[in-house]
């Protein structure tokens, strides 16, 4: 076994056979191995959904929180101990639907975390309703006449908000996915990796074949530092581009900007209250 550091051994996994989540799990494990990140130093934060079960299937610290709420605790964790590698990983419903507001504002906040989103354009755990990224016309037990809402475009939103690292991959290409996850983790700031994956049970429209037919790779000549070009590519919908859309190398992460690590780089847990200083603060309230 190649990825034994992160391997859980023989465990019962709740995903359907053939689910794209397996590929993402393997890609993640391999990326972590290749980056030589220790499981004790990694925190995987997820919400609720089929994708959000991923922390249970690899050896790591994890925070499996509430539906839609992976990004705020991920931010809190990273800001409290910047030496940890923090990945917030969940599905498209969790990150873009229930957690939409956090998605927007976490990008603005820019903690040094990696946001991996399993994007299969459908709700799996609740059995087949539309997700924010479902295409118009997609028929489900709830959207009986087909989806009538405009699909959410996470990449365009992220680029509009000047996210520092924005990428999309397709799990059919494991090598590129691993490579991009690695780059996203190495990026110092918030990094979005939207991973297209089929849901073999509930999405008969966006299948492996559909993704193959409806995606293409950004060219080698493509300049990922050009935000306007990135936005233009992100809004393409006939065929979805794959690769790194945008990198802004000039951003500094939230935890650095807060100032609490300026003079002291130790994690918050190891710090003590300066009671002398507090006493002098309190005594100031005795003055006029």
């Amino acid at each position: 076994m190649k990825n034994e550091k992160y391997d859980m051994g023989d465990i019962d996994i709740a995903w359907c056979p053939g689910c794209g989540n397996f590929g993402i799990l393997n890609a993640l494990k391999q990326a972590m191995e290749e980056l030589k990140i220790e499981p004790t130093n990694l925190v995987l934060v997820s919400g609720i959904g089929q994708a959000a079960k991923i922390p249970h299937y690899l050896k790591t610290n994890f925070f499996n929180g509430l539906h839609g709420r992976a990004l705020p605790p991920a931010t809190g964790i990273k800001a409290s101990n910047p030496s940890l590698t923090v990945i917030a990983e969940s599905g498209d419903g969790d990150m873009y639907g229930e957690g939409g507001n956090h998605f927007i504002h976490t990008i603005r906040r820019n903690p040094n975390i990696t946001n991996i989103v399993h994007d299969n354009m459908v709700y799996g755990l609740t059995k087949g309703q539309a997700s924010p990224t479902s295409r118009r016309g997609f028929v489900t037990p709830v959207q009986v006449a087909g989806v009538i809402l405009e699909p959410f475009n996470p990449l365009a939103v992220a680029i509009a908000l000047n996210a520092g690292f924005v990428a999309r991959t397709f799990i059919g290409d494991k090598e590129q996915t691993i490579e991009i996850i690695k780059q996203a983790i190495n990026y110092k700031g918030y990094a979005l990796v939207d991973i297209l994956q089929p849901c073999v049970t509930f999405n008969k429209l966006n299948t492996y074949q559909w993704f193959k037919d409806n995606t293409y790779y950004l060219e080698d000549s493509y300049d990922c530092h050009d935000r306007n070009a990135a936005f233009k590519r992100a809004t393409e919908s006939d065929k979805l581009p794959l690769g790194i859309f945008y990198i802004n190398p000039e951003k500094t992460p939230f935890e650095e900007n807060t100032g609490v690590y300026k003079q002291n780089d130790t994690p918050l847990y190891s710090r003590e209250v300066d009671y002398g200083k507090l006493e002098s603060l309190i005594s100031k309230y005795a003055l006029v």
């Binding site: 610290n61 994890f62 002291n264 209250v273 006029v288």
Partner: protein, 573 residues
């Protein structure tokens, strides 16, 4: 205050009334500090409208030779800076009230028998150079009435403005003198003289309001992370920790919403920080899912909730004790919690400090339940003693076989944090096994529920007992909780009855076992609450099986007044 040239009093209540943004707070700040630096006990609180400019707001200031810590309806002196001031306070202004103001402004509202000092604040201020100095002119008028020498006030004024340009300080001194002199030269002038407290201890005491006491307590408790969304009247704690916390390494973040705020704070605790959130009822409603998460993850979290009247937006700048039920039951599922309700500044400081240790020790949500009245009120109090404070960290360095939810003999699983030790820390909002992985093992489910709820007995052993004040052999017991305490205390003291005691709860859940006996001992029990549904009386019925005889309730958005409530209590006793 009748009309002799000098009258001795020992407790003067002054109300400043004016538009929002007009500077009554400046008058309050300068005047209270002058009086404190001259050795007097001071107290102040405000009531204000939900607007940034205009409307009418008022500030009550009490000056006394004895400690004063409670709201009163009585107004000895009213400083009316705007048209409508007297009308705004019509239920509290009597023929005994001395009105200070510009007759031109207040003429429509002044009745014939009213005592009035007509002082042209604006004109005097303009004479000094700018009408913005009219606030300081008003301070000058007030100190003349309270027989404070201008020199003593000026020294204090210099201190207050010490970081300001010299020219501005000089103009303010001029304005204060002008206000003083114009007032003492009035034909109908008279003054009062409060005896200075003998001990002179007031000068060394501190002046902090409720939100500052909570904020200082948080720092003393080792708080190093606050994430919150602004909401009146809770925002002042976020502001305090953002400003003062900087020197103590407190990370203060304004979240996009309350949902994010509490989830961020729980994440911070997971990584070993000591985090809190501050909010009010509506914001807390959004946090309830997060409270439930803390229950399941067994995460510590400290929540300051400053109550205001609801439902929904309610009265945003007013006060109420209406969210006790909300806090008591917030969050789906069953899990323990701790609720403090400080009624004094000392309690706000020490209980907030303690909240962090208890949250960490028992891995539960701990609430500090205050309200608008409490956070906006202040009086002089002894400097908080830090010798009683200690940051107790309850997390451990993990070993390779670490299990976050290990079933132990005492219900508490040692809390590891990621990156400290060789173990993995797995926190799960699903029902989980000892390691922290999802489980549907229903026998294990029972064990996990029992473990979580079992902590309540341990918590109870450390509950803060209620404070009994008054005669030991009481027949009547007046029960209160949180911010009403000082008001009730003053009212019952005033009545001076040998058969009546006060029982004050600063921890409202879980109740200390001793409380039941103290309540059952009384022949007559009265619960006083700033709400309409008698929520604490209900809590006593449900959790202590005691039924009280009378409920005294107030829910007009204002706090109780010690003089009015004394009358009301006297009728019931």
């Amino acid at each position: 205050m009748t009309n002799p040239s000098t009258k001795k009093g020992n407790d003067i209540s002054i109300v400043l009334c004016g538009q929002a943004g007009q500077g009554i707070q400046t008058v309050e700040k300068i005047f209270t500090r002058i009086m404190k630096s001259n050795g007097y006990h001071v107290y102040a609180t405000k009531e204000y409208m939900s607007r940034v400019r205009g409307g009418l707001n008022s500030i009550l200031i009490r000056i006394s030779d004895k400690p004063v810590k409670a709201f009163v309806d009585r107004i000895d002196i009213l400083v009316g800076l705007n048209k409508g001031s007297i009308k705004h306070l019509k239920n509290r202004v009597t023929s005994e009230t001395l009105i200070i103001g510009e007759k031109e402004v207040l003429s429509d509202e002044i009745e014939d028998k009213q005592k009035v000092f007509d002082i042209p604040f604006t004109e005097i201020a303009s004479g000094v150079g700018n009408k913005v100095f009219s606030n300081t002119v008003a301070v000058g008028a007030l100190i003349s009435i309270l027989s404070v020498k201008p020199e003593d006030a000026i020294n204090c004024l210099k201190q207050i403005f010490k970081d300001k340009p010299k020219e501005l300080i000089d103009k303010n001194i001029e304005a204060l003198k002008a206000g003083y002199e114009t007032t003492v030269k009035l034909e109908n002038f008279y003054s009062v003289k409060i005896e200075s407290p003998a001990s002179g201890s007031v000068k060394k005491q501190i002046l902090v309001n409720g939100s500052e006491a909570v904020g200082l307590g948080a720092i003393a408790g080792g708080c190093n992370f606050i994430s919150s969304y602004p909401m009146s009247p809770s925002t002042s704690v976020l502001v305090f920790l953002a400003q003062k916390g900087k020197d103590f390494g407190v990370l203060a973040e304004q979240a996009e919403d309350e949902i994010s705020a509490i989830n961020m704070a729980i994440g911070a605790w997971y990584a070993g920080a000591r985090a809190m959130v501050t909010t009010s009822g509506g914001g807390f409603a959004l946090m309830t899912e997060g409270v439930s998460l803390a229950g399941m993850l067994e995460s510590p979290i400290v929540i300051h909730l400053a109550q205001r009247p609801g439902p929904a937006t309610g009265l945003p700048t007013r006060t109420e004790q209406g969210d006790l039920d909300l806090v008591l039951y917030a969050g789906h599922g069953e899990f323990p919690r701790i609720i403090f309700a400080p009624g004094t500044l000392e309690d706000a400081f020490y209980l907030t400090q303690k909240a962090f240790n208890l949250a960490d020790k028992f891995q539960v949500p701990v609430f500090i339940l205050t309200d608008q009245y409490f956070v906006d009120s202040y009086y002089n109090t002894e400097p908080f003693n830090l010798k009683e404070c200690k940051v107790e960290k309850h997390f451990i360095e993990t070993s390779e076989d670490y299990q976050r939810y290990k079933l132990t003999e005492n219900e508490i699983s040692p809390r590891g944090i990621p990156g400290l030790g060789k173990g993995l820390v797995c926190a799960d909002s699903d029902e989980h096994d000892e390691e922290g992985h999802i489980t549907e093992d229903l026998e294990l489910r029972i064990k996990m529920v029992d473990k979580r709820l079992g902590k309540l007995d341990l918590i109870k052993q450390e509950s803060v007992p209620p404070v009994l004040l008054g005669p030991e052999n009481y027949e009547n017991l007046v029960i209160c909780w949180g911010s009403t305490f000082n008001i009730i205390c003053e009212a019952v003291n005033y009545l001076g009855r040998k058969d009546t005691a006060v029982l004050y709860f600063n921890q409202v859940y879980p109740l200390h076992d001793g409380a039941i006996e103290l309540i059952k001992k009384a022949k007559k029990t009265i619960v006083v609450e700033n709400n309409a549904a008698a929520q604490f009386a209900r809590l006593l019925k449900i959790h202590a099986d005691v039924k009280v005889d009378h409920n005294v309730l107030k829910y007009d958005g204002l706090c109780f007044a010690s003089d009015s409530i004394a009358e009301e209590l006297n009728e019931l006793l």
